[in-house]
Amino acid sequence: MFDLEIQIHSWSDHLRAHGNFTEADIHELESHLRDEIEDLVAAGLTPDESFLISVKRLGNLDAVSHEFAKVNTESLWRHLLVEPTDSVAKKGNRRDIALVVVFALLAGTLFKIPEIFFGLGLNDQNAESFYFKNLSLFILPFIAAFFLIKRKSDWRTWLTILGIFALSALIINIYPSFSPHNTQILSGLHLPLFLWLIVGVAYIGRDWLDSKGRMNFIRFTGEAAIYGVLVLAGVIVLGLFTQVIFAAIEIDVSRFLEDYLIVYGGSAAALITVYLVEAKKSVVENFAPVLAKIFSPLFLAVMAAFLTVMLITGKSPFMERDFLIGFDLMLALVLGLVLYVISSRNDHQPANWFDYLNLALIMTALVIDGVALSAILFRLSTFGITPNKLAALGENLVLLGNLGGLAWMYLGYFKGKYDFIKLEKWQTSYLSVYFVWTAIVAFIFPIMFGFY
């Protein structure tokens, strides 16, 4: 059967891979191809005939690409900073930059408010827990607002999302906390994840239940993490240089740096990151999948070696709690690697060796997760239930569910039972599980364990 959509997609993928085209050019050419096909079909040709003739008429792609190269000579770096695909987008882009500046200033100032009005300085000992649990609330609402404005959301969405932020802020600060503060630390750790998913709703906009939108948000998260680290590194270098050059003329600026550069620089770094990732969306090949492809074979090798040695020596690595947490982080990272390889994949491509590698990675992670789970269950039964152990158990179960589901879908895909889109749909709907779990740990755990 001739599938016109698949043919058009592979044609535009060919352009992406071989030409000097920007993403906007490709959309424009694709729309042109479709116009041509529609006219030919209207004239009585079959879709496959129309496709062949239209592709032929669009001419030798190399020649077209060569013509385009003359116009698109600016390097990719220019696209990185500002990439207006057309003149109207240019105006929108200027508005975005203004938003970033205003929001960064607002977020920075918000940081200063507790200090000015309640004497809770950022570096005071007694304010440590306050900043720890509230940190995400200083920045994420602005990022959410940025997307709400960009997506032109209606007032109901605005109200819901800002309401959730306000409610979270209220709950987290009303809850008391008693020594040893386990539940407080747990909710402080889970709240940012929960709120990040709320930002995701603002990012995706109206179709927040839709799989494509959620996949885009997963991509966005990965890119934002990478860009965030780079921009933050820039802020740190700036701070260090400021300190050093002023020290040379015997002026100590560390106080100023702590009070202003960290606060405003940090807020600005977060918002600039969000803006950059959003602006360059799909213009340059995304970086997270590239990193994931480089590191997934390496992680697989390390984990396989680790499992083998563990089996041979018969030692359990999970007797220490710290190691357990370390392994959970690694499982989350492996899941990330798997996700980014999936996210960059073309739905219509046949299975390639990265898919098999992904499955191997998932399987190894599953085994490690199983060992970790048994260790947690053992500790739970021996030492009784504590918030930390229960949280660890939940985390591992959630990860197990995700990895196991992915493995199952992959096997079905290799057997030809499903197409790849189904796997993506499953993964994106699993995000809801994370949403529910982080909400439980952040808001219900403290009540369950009497705020200890």
Binding site: S31, L58, A63, H66, S87
Partner: protein
């Protein structure tokens, strides 16, 4: 008749500007319109049209925006702006100079 490459290139800008002066349009429709107006003598290729459109946009003579077609597909439309209209007037005068000069020499030729 094959119109020479140089002539096609030289006439591209005024033709595009003139078509956009009629109304906003997109690549495929522009090619069709040129074909129609020249009675199938001028057949533009995409490889020639789009780079010219993008160059005109860079020179701020035209603007582009994405809009939905009747079938609901995204399409990149172009519209002419003030500077573009001024440029069109200028080009018109230049072409008239060339045209009238040619017309005169050719009419003298036929009188001989």
């Amino acid at each position: 008749m094959n119109v020479s490459k140089d002539l096609i290139a030289a006439s591209a800008t005024p033709l595009i500007l003139a078509i956009l002066k009629e109304n906003d349009s997109y690549g495929y429709a522009i090619i069709k319109r040129v074909k129609e107006m020249s009675e199938n003598e001028l057949i533009w290729t995409e490889g020639m049209l789009y780079p010219v459109l993008h160059r005109l946009e860079e020179q701020l003579l035209i603007e582009s925006y994405w809009n939905k077609s009747d079938a609901g597909r995204q399409r990149k439309y172009y519209r002419i702006n003030e500077r573009g209209l001024a440029e069109l007037e200028l080009q018109k005068k230049q072409w008239e100079v060339v045209h009238s000069a040619l017309a005169r020499t050719w009419s003298e030729e036929s009188q001989l």
